[in-house]
């Protein structure tokens, strides 16, 4: 109890957490995965898409979860499909451009980013679909699906705030609500600089 009180006082005194950009740190370790090590359910999903280009597989280890990710290009878009370690579909991410967002969403995202950053540049936008495998498969193949699925938007943003400049990953809902912000931490590069 005392420990929590002290931490609380320190946070209060130093104003940590008062800035809208008090974000958690994003940590991910990504390593290549051979196709033979990918669960068959995940392989079946990718096979059913009949992708002409090469599919790369990765094992992604985060702070509290591990997932399997496939990356490929299809119809001039970069796709990234995430599965759990058993091969169950988690979400589908598709890289899009700012112009592909509708005006209301653009305005809402813009409002939130202006609130957090003095200046910002959106580096990457991904539309994220999550839902049942049987719903998402027709969605990704034809662009249409009769049933419900969830849409979120993941943005990588270069943000200048106070006297700092950093890269953040933002997650927005389909209506433009800010759901999560994580700071992207770079690996040190001193061996490339000295």
């Amino acid at each position: 109890m005392l420990k929590h009180t002290i931490i609380g006082i320190v946070f209060f005194l130093f104003g940590i957490g008062t800035h809208p950009l008090f974000a958690q740190v994003k940590y991910e370790k990504e390593s290549r995965l051979k196709e033979k090590d990918v669960p068959s359910i995940a392989l079946d999903f990718i096979d059913s898409l009949a992708i002409k280009k090469k599919v790369k597989w990765y094992l992604e280890v985060g702070f509290n979860r591990t997932s399997i990710e496939s990356k490929f290009k299809m119809n001039n878009h970069k796709y990234s499909i995430e599965f759990d370690t058993l091969g169950n579909l988690e979400d589908i991410e598709l890289q899009i451009k700012w112009d592909e967002l509708n005006k209301t969403l653009q305005d809402s995202i813009d409002f939130h980013l202006r609130e957090d950053c003095k200046k910002f540049i959106v580096r990457r936008i991904q539309i994220q679909y999550s839902g049942d495998r049987s719903v998402l498969l027709p969605k990704i193949k034809t662009g249409e699906s009769a049933e419900d699925y969830m849409i979120k938007y993941e943005l990588v943003v270069k943000c200048c705030y106070e006297n700092n400049i950093n890269l953040f990953e933002y997650l927005f809902s389909n209506s433009g609500q800010k759901l999560k912000v994580s700071q992207i931490v770079f690996k040190n590069s001193s061996h490339l600089e000295y």
Partner: protein, 230 residues
């Protein structure tokens, strides 16, 4: 580009390489171990301390005499302080002290680096100006540009307990006593990320200079680097 221009470039490259690999060219072969300590300071500042030593194992002229006697050449000690000035850029300044055959050499260093993060590799551009002072020689002014890349051998970044390849190519323009020289360095290394804070690298550090108007001087250094983040 026209055929005439292509021909001119091929001719120039031919002249350059015929000079570089001529039989009168001299060479030296040795080891170049280094220790790099990096400290993260407050408010985007960081510091680097490096010790690098050169030891000669063999030297001579191509197709001629060879001297295989061991010789300790020098040790460099450098201190650099850097400040992050953008998301991926750093401006640094530092000092290098060299001790060679009982004589001290001092070097002032100014450096700008920018890292480009591509999907599966990192590119580091480094521009350095330095000024070298010693009692016996005139001041040497250098302008250097280095492009270095790290290619992970597993996944999209070199994580702990993973290998990577580091390749760098540097061009060093030097001006001393009104004489200009160009040195080219090519350094292919195999690296291993021991932990998030420690890396070791092993490979070749190849350097060639004096090839513009004299016989080229080739240096083959077996490079062994240890990087530690504090």
């Amino acid at each position: 580009m026209s055929i005439k221009k292509h021909f001119l470039i091929v001719l120039c490259l031919g002249w350059l390489f015929s000079n570089i690999i001529s039989a009168q060219s001299t060479y030296q072969l040795g080891v170049l171990p280094s220790i790099n300590l990096n400290y993260k300071l407050r408010n985007d500042w960081s510091a680097n301390f490096k010790i690098e030593s050169r030891q000669l194992l063999q030297r001579g002229t191509f197709n001629s005499d060879v001297d295989k006697s061991y010789q300790y050449v020098l040790t460099d000690y450098s201190w650099i302080v850097a400040r992050k000035i953008g998301l991926n850029a750093r401006l640094s300044g530092g000092y290098l002290f060299r001790f060679r055959e009982g004589q001290a050499t001092h070097r002032l260093i100014q450096q700008y680096t920018i890292i480009q993060r591509l999907p599966s590799l990192r590119l580091a551009h480094r521009i350095v100006t330095d000024q070298t002072f010693s009692d016996s020689d005139d001041t040497e002014y250098r302008l250097r540009y280095r492009l270095a890349t790290e290619i992970p051998l597993n996944g999209q970044s070199a994580d702990p307990k993973e290998f990577y390849i580091k390749i760098s190519n540097e061009y060093l323009n030097s001006l001393q006593s009104a004489e200009y020289d160009l040195e080219i360095r090519v350094v292919p290394l195999l690296g291993y990320a021991v932990t998030d804070k420690q890396k070791v690298e092993f490979g070749l550090d190849y350097r060639v200079n004096s090839f513009l108007d004299k016989n080229a001087r080739h240096s083959f250094w077996i490079s062994l680097n240890w990087f530690f983040e504090m």
